[in-house]
Amino acid sequence: MSVFSEVPQAPPVAVFKLSADFREDSHPQKVNLGVGAYRTDDCQPWVLPVVKKVERLIVEDGSLNHEYLPILGLPEFRSASSKVALGDDSAAIKDNRVGGVQALGGTGALRIGAEFLRRWYNGVNNTATPIYVSAPTWENHNSVFADAGFKDIRPYHYWDAAKRGLDLDGLLDDLEKAPERSVFVLHACAHNPTGTDPTPEEWKKISEIMKRRSLFVFFDSAYQGFASGDLDKDAWAIRYFVSEGFELFVAQSFSKNFGLYNERVGNLTVVAQDGENLSRILSQMEKIVRTTWSNPPSQGARIVSKTLNSPELFAEWKGNVKTMAERVLLMRDQLKAKLQAQGTPGTWDHITQQIGMFSFTGLNPKQVEYMIKEKHVYLMASGRINMCGLTTKNIDYVAQSIHDAVTKVQ
């Protein structure tokens, strides 16, 4: 008799199930708008030219040997990553109160941050500290914090379905009512899944309350550069909060903006009050990493580090990122234009107002089901589409399908 006989089947991860269903579909016009990765206009994944170049440089570099990285990761990667988030002229970096922990992707960075907070924030091992995540949010946020031991994970108002935009009043109200010292997970830019970000003015309001009520800022930054095409613009919120004197964490992912999905490159940037605090925080994070993966993989970190630390390669990278962002912006423009031209009922401004990879179309679950079953256009039940799945070749079909879904299904 197996000791595992009673183990139940866990539900599949929705987005991967969607992709699996898509793969099995044999319809000639099928479109996958569920995947969370960049695609070219030919619907292919894209190896950034700068990445290809740097990979070759690394492979040919005989002086590099494949030694274990330190537990906290490649030093030049960590510092370059924090710099890209905080800015070249960051006062916090100059004050030596910024550090980084190389992690397995954005997920790994979130997990290390969460594990640290559970052990050392708001008392010792205080699993009751409320963790607030946006409604909706990337569903893995819930799992990461829950598995790190937090017992109280709550939603904060974010998406207003009626007005198809940010529910600012709801959000600010939640901030005012949250117990002091609660942790808020904020999306630095290109909110996943809604694509709706607070404006700078709105961020200022959020910041004011968070400071006043001693709420902890934990940024998730997976799309820097990818959202607007401009690294600095996409990091505005992070930099504003740092300038307001917050101690904060930023979980950075280089999966999307470097196309390094499979090398798992992430960094947890820690902005501490001072160098002494920083050093103690990092020492505890090191202990956490030691029992998780011990030494992070070097390949991806070397690629990013080499790129960020070379002015030429950095410029080339920015160009590649802009290429991706611009294709997304083009698809947004075109989709909205087509829906308007078709006279598809409803307003479609949100398609171009939203930013980043995703758009919350506003399609309801029944309409989504229609799209998938009848039109073989795959999107998430929430109505979220990945703009990267749109191409000049399939956009007409998708626009038409949305039109049919909206007019035929209530």
């Binding site: 089947q9 190896v47 040997n65 274990y68 330190p70 397995l104 992707g105 990461v144 499979n262 993989p297």
Partner: protein, 430 residues
């Protein structure tokens, strides 16, 4: 100190050694700030003595040639491959890798594989594999409650192991007798005694080969006896296969205990590392194997493993796993790799023999047979704390604080000095 002519063994050691940089053994990896090992490394780096020797590294320079030839070639091929797709891999990792890793642990013709009741998950390194195994046990070993132990670790063992289980929420960590200082070997009787007293359902962590830090492994007969006790007492085996092939230069022999237990119909977990034996230290290539009693459980266990992975690292990185999978699936590469492993293992054996012989010639008190009875990269020399301190402070020879040393860090330039130092450590009265 050397005789008029070098022995044939010495000549071979000299031929095969890496003439490189004396600092090349180091990495400040694996060592939390402020730990005894960091202090050791720090002390070594600040030590200005000309004859200083660091024997507490992880042995990566041994793989330099292999890495330069085959691994680099494979990586170059991958970087120019137009069909490679940058997208998220499965949370379980590369299929080709897990398949090969599973075969390495269980043997190609394993019944468990043929009956499709083996779960294989690629992990970012060995620690991650142990962590995943610990998490699976915590959540699913006892479906009615969150399981919290006991887990039995060998005494001594890698000092990071307890922390990994604790990080997974398992607090009840105990040890079982393993290394006997007087015998300078494993004491099977006491080991069995401890296992027989362990509560049913306890998890026992066993080193399949190349035990760290002692280098002392069990014989096949001993394994058969242990397996019996495990089955009788309904204990659950969790095998460790870290630098697996390094011990014997023979993949099958190194993982024999795992084959054996699986063939007895046991369920087991096995954490593997491929980072060392492919010279891929930086690439964090690990694997967790779970052998189940029935195929019907595979989907559930797989789905739960995916769920756990999702909130830890989401997906593993592919670079290193790709290299390993490529080597293991290509007969030509495999031969080349086995040759390389054989060289390294033989060199380690020669060094051990030289060490033993030299100590004997010096008349160093004590029995040094264990040096050649053990195999692999690490050797538990059998010195006490005072002797180790003497070695580092007075002779500038640094061993692991456990008394273990990395055999491959010994070469023709430092052999005499090291032997002399050990002799002095043993004969000086404190």
């Amino acid at each position: 100190m050397s005789g008029p002519g070098s022995s044939p063994n010495e000549k071979v050691v000299k031929q095969n050694e890496d003439p490189g940089d004396p600092f090349s053994e180091f990495t400040n990896a694996h060592v939390p700030a402020g730990s005894p090992e960091t202090r050791l490394l720090s002390a070594f780096k600040n030590d200005t003595h000309t004859r200083k020797a660091y024997l507490a590294g992880r042995g990566k320079s041994a793989w330099k040639t292999f890495e330069l030839r085959l691994v680099r070639k494979i990586k170059q091929q991958r970087s120019t491959d137009p069909t490679s797709r940058p997208e998220y891999p499965s949370s379980l990792g590369l299929t080709e890798f897990t398949r090969r890793a599973t075969e390495v642990a269980l043997g190609k013709s394993s019944r468990a594989i043929m009956e499709d009741r083996v779960l294989g998950v690629q992990t970012p390194g060995f620690t991650a594999a142990v962590r995943l195994g610990a998490e699976l046990l915590r959540h699913w070993y006892d479906v009615c409650a969150v399981w919290s132990g006991p887990v039995y670790l060998s005494s001594p063992c890698d000092d990071s192991l307890a922390g990994i289980f604790q990080a997974a929420g398992i607090q009840d960590i105990r040890d079982y007798y393993y290394w006997d200082d007087t015998q300078r070997n494993v004491c099977l009787e006491k080991l069995l005694e401890d296992l027989s007293k362990a509560p049913q359902q306890s998890v026992v962590v066993l080193s399949a080969s190349a035990h760290y830090p002692t280098g002392a492994d069990l014989s096949q007969n001993q394994w058969a006896v242990i397996a019996n006790v495990i089955m009788r007492r309904r204990l659950f085996p969790f095998f460790l296969l870290p630098p697996q092939a390094l011990c014997y230069g023979d993949l099958e022999r190194g993982s024999w205990p795992v084959h054996y237990c699986a063939s007895q119909g046991m369920e087991l977990l096995c954490a593997q590392s491929f980072s060392h034996c492919f010279g891929l230290y930086g690439e964090a290539v690990g694997h967790l194997l779970c052998v189940l009693k029935q195929n019907s459980l595979l989907f559930s266990m797989e789905s739960q493993a995916v769920k756990i992975v999702r909130s830890l690292w989401a997906q593993p990185s592919v670079g290193g796993a790709h290299v390993v999978a490529t080597v293991l699936s290509n007969p030509g590469h495999l031969i080349e790799w086995k040759e390389e492993v054989k060289c390294i293992v033989e060199r380690c054996m020669l060094i051990r023999e030289l060490l033993r012989e030299r100590l004997r010639l010096l008349g160093t008190p004590g029995c040094w047979d264990h040096l050649t009875q053990q195999g692999g990269l690490y050797c538990f020399i059998g010195l006490n704390g005072e002797q180790l301190e003497f070695l580092s402070k007075k002779r500038h020879v640094y061993l692991f604080t456990s008394g273990c040393l990395n055999v491959s860090a010994i070469n023709s330039r430092n052999l005499d000095y090291i032997v002399e130092s050990i002799h002095l450590a043993v004969t000086t009265s404190f």
